[in-house]
Amino acid sequence: MKERLKEIKQEALEQIEAAVDEKKLQDVKVYFLGKKGQITEVLKGMGKLSKEERPVIGQLANEVRDEITEALESKKSKLEQAALEKQLKAESVDVTLPGRPVQKGGPHLLRKVIRDIEDLFTTMGYEVAEGPEVETDFYNFESLNLPKNHPARDMQDSFFISEDLLMRTQTSPVQARTLRQHEGRGPVKIICPGKVYRRDTDDATHSHQFTQIEGLYVDEKIRMSDLKGTLNTFAKHMFGEERNIRLRPSFFPFTEPSAEMDISCKICQGEGCSVCKGSGWIEILGSGMVHPNVLEMAGFDSNKYSGFAFGMGPERIAMLKYGIEDIRHFYTNDVRFLKQFHGV
């Protein structure tokens, strides 16, 4: 019997080794260790053994069973491992294939520029004010110190709807409206973005519709130096810390003194190049100290209050910042254009 057990062990280990899958392995298990398996068969003959031999054979049989069981377990785990490896291999992908695109749109560049400016000024205590795009002659012109027949009205050929109504040519009427709402009491600190319209033929540098964003700060004792400091903060935020600004005298009917703000040219660092027409400076916006007539017409005492205002075109800012060559790109909505500005 000893011999038989040894033989069984030998046979079992060989068959376990040869098993190619879990099914075969199960068959081997049943054949050797099952209720009718080989070991059980051997143990059936135990009755014939002497009292002394029984425990010895019994023990040997147990040892053989344990060894077979262990071999089975080990083989099983090997087979499982192999199966898993096969599965993983089958599941392997080409990681260089493109991923499934996330459906994502984005903001229009002009709105992005406007939002950026709004965010800067709201943190400086400004509110965002809006107003109608179809304006009265009074708010668009007269309240801004542009009486009828004023020559400066020529500067902005307008789309009139009736004698008294027109497409606003600037966002300044929002300033006039907001000032009135404050009934002569400062401070008024607003930023006014919006669409404006001029009687222009659309081409690479003109658009009959465009956007503007203006700022107004009216309070007691506001100085031109405050305008300069505010614009400096703005310019560095918008165009970079290394850029400088300069103000130079200009003229707007609604401000006195008036100033144009230039920033130092990024391309040539002020040396003069084709972008800045050799001057080293690029014109960015118009500004000035609010004209006393504008304050008085809005119900503010111009002896007590003073203020500054500035206005710019987001189109121009975007064109300068990104080197965009044609203003019409902002309004054709070519997705190849729009999508370039969807990043942060």
Partner: protein, 808 residues
Amino acid sequence: MLVSRKWLEQYVDLSNISTDDLAEKMTKSGLEVEEVTGPALDDENVVVGYVEQCEQHPNADKLNLCQVNVGEDELLQIVCGAPNVAQGQYVVVAKPGAVLPGGFRIKKAKLRGETSNGMICSLQELGYDEKYVPEQFKDGIYVFDEDVTVGEAACPLLNLDDEVIEIELTANRSDCLSLIGVAYDVAAMYDKDIHLPQPEVDISSGSSSDYISVKIDDEEANPYYGAWILKDLTIRQSPLWLQNRLISAGIRPINNVVDVTNYILMEYGQPLHAFDYDRFGSKEVVTRLANEGETIKTLDGEERTLSSHHLVITNGEEPHAIAGVMGGEESEVQEDTTTILLEAAYFSPGVVRQGSKDHGLRSEASARFEKGIDITRVKEAATRAAQLLSEVADGEVLGNLVEEGSTEKDPINVSFTQDEINARIGADISIDDMKQIIKRLRFNYELDGQTFTVESPARRQDIVIKEDMVEEIARLYGYDRIPYTLPVGVRDKGGLTKRQKLIREVNDYLQSAGLNESLTYSLTKAEWSTRFVSPEIQNQNLSPIGLSLPMTDLHSHLRLSAVPELLSSLQYNVARNQYDVALYEIGSVFLQHEPRKQPEENVRLTAAVTGHWENHPWQGIKVPADFFVVKGVLEGLFNHFLDGQVEFEKAELEDMHPGQTAVMKLNGETMGYVGQIHPIVQREFDLQETFVFDVDLDRVLDETDDGEDYRAITKYPTIAQDLAFVVDRELPAKQLEQAIYEQGQPHLESVKVFDVYQGEHMEEGKKSIAFNLIFQNDERTLKDEEIEETRQAIVQHLETEYQAVLRG
């Protein structure tokens, strides 16, 4: 305004100041320099030569062999191909070593076997602008017409060495529409003296008043009129110096009389007019407003009809000029003119503007009258003109000006204190510095303590109020020297309003949903302004607002919907092979409730989507945009902002697909629509299936409830049940869903469609629709019997109300 450096130097000493420095100083002081041009040529090897001999080149028919005296020991032999070269001419010679414009270097050369030691030049070769080249020199070399010295540098003679500064004047600085005006400002910038002309004229014994009288009919339109008679003039070409000045100012020389009036125009900013006295037709000038329908043939040969808004210069009968705008053809100065009537007047800005505008005649002269000239200098300018005319046209000036009206101007005084100026600028400028600045400006002033009273000079109409002086002082003190500060005061919170924040949220939502923000035009075609208008606007029967004077038919009317312009944007993209496009716009449409009143501006959210919504071909994911994709975007929006209380109802709208269009209603009122555009419209815009929506965003924002209620997450389990029914195909799913929800109370938490089937194995006109029901109670676990009871009630209700058949 073109400012010649050399001309400016007549009045202000600019030695040691480079033109670049000058340009920068001008820009920084308020006269913005657009461009500096020149010198065109400044080469000492370009000299005056005298053609001693000129004969045909032995080997070439069209070439001449010239012996030219350039003031050197030997004559220069020069081969010249110009047809007009001849012996005895004073010409411009570029000697070997000269470099002409364009880098053209002159060398000794052999032409057809003959040595050529330089070039006899045409004006074009010297860098002259073609438009200023006199007719007789257009196809040949230039020949001097006046006394010049052989060997003398030619560039200064032709003013080629001048530099011209182009300044872009702001509307308030019309004082700088003259060289003298610019000179005043430049002198102030550099604190220099100014040397003005002191015109004097030799008056002959005759008297202009024997020839002419002046009568002003409307003193407001014409406060002053001066007339002067000059006799025995010779009309000819102006001397070179005068031509040079005009060319530097961008004016083409014509003849000596016209050139002098133009010279004065540029020097003083005073427009003058010369009539041919013998053709004027009377001995009186009467200025008056024109009669309605009166006509005049102007210098340009046009017959012009006048109205009572126009001022005319008449001979007592007929108009001979539209005042300040253009003279009449009849009394135009011509080659045979010998006597002129010189007009020096002040016409009021309004009447000249009306004339130039109505006749489309804007000129250097009218522009100056329109902005208002210096009335106190009219006589001085006239005297200067008379002086020059007697010099360059040999004219005899008869007596004094015959005048009517006054050149006086009431002085304007502006008072301010040192503190006021400094407080407004934010600088610390001393009284002495302020005094200096005012002196440099040559403004008369008085100082009492720290209070200045400045008399605004007549030439500076822009100095009227204190703030004007703030600017004068600030600009001459230097904007650069103003410090950088921020306003001192209460720091207010600032920030966005709730509405503004919500709009940003709407934008963020739509962008995260996959739509691209767009901007289209508010002004659209007349035809488009009435299309795709949402029913709640359509029902108001509003007319679209049209512009009085559109630039183009493409943008003539204010939109009532942004859909047409967005469709046009889709078309633009598709035409460029961009087939999958999803655009949205937030913007106003314009509702005119009452004519001539400001319209209501309704902010709407509009979108247009075409092509694939999702396109990921290698994994086989190709989801075309369809009704439910765009509806889903809207539902997401409404869920977010309106707790999903919006109802979609099937609708038939013009230009929309009759089977795939819905209107949205909030509390029973329409607030927009969504759907596929009609296939015919798709073809019109060259589009495939395209879906749009147009929603009243103002209403969404008005009704947005910003409160969010928290409901504790229940610990009791939910129970799911599915129910499928066969119903009429036309029965809206929403109705069934609503019925199930109501019947399912109080335990039914939610109900959702999860399958719809119609087609094979389904009776004609029927569809199968399956719902997923979720039951829940926050306080306890629901019992099976409760759910079964509810389920039965639902089934029974649907069977009786909708003839629904429960599918097993």
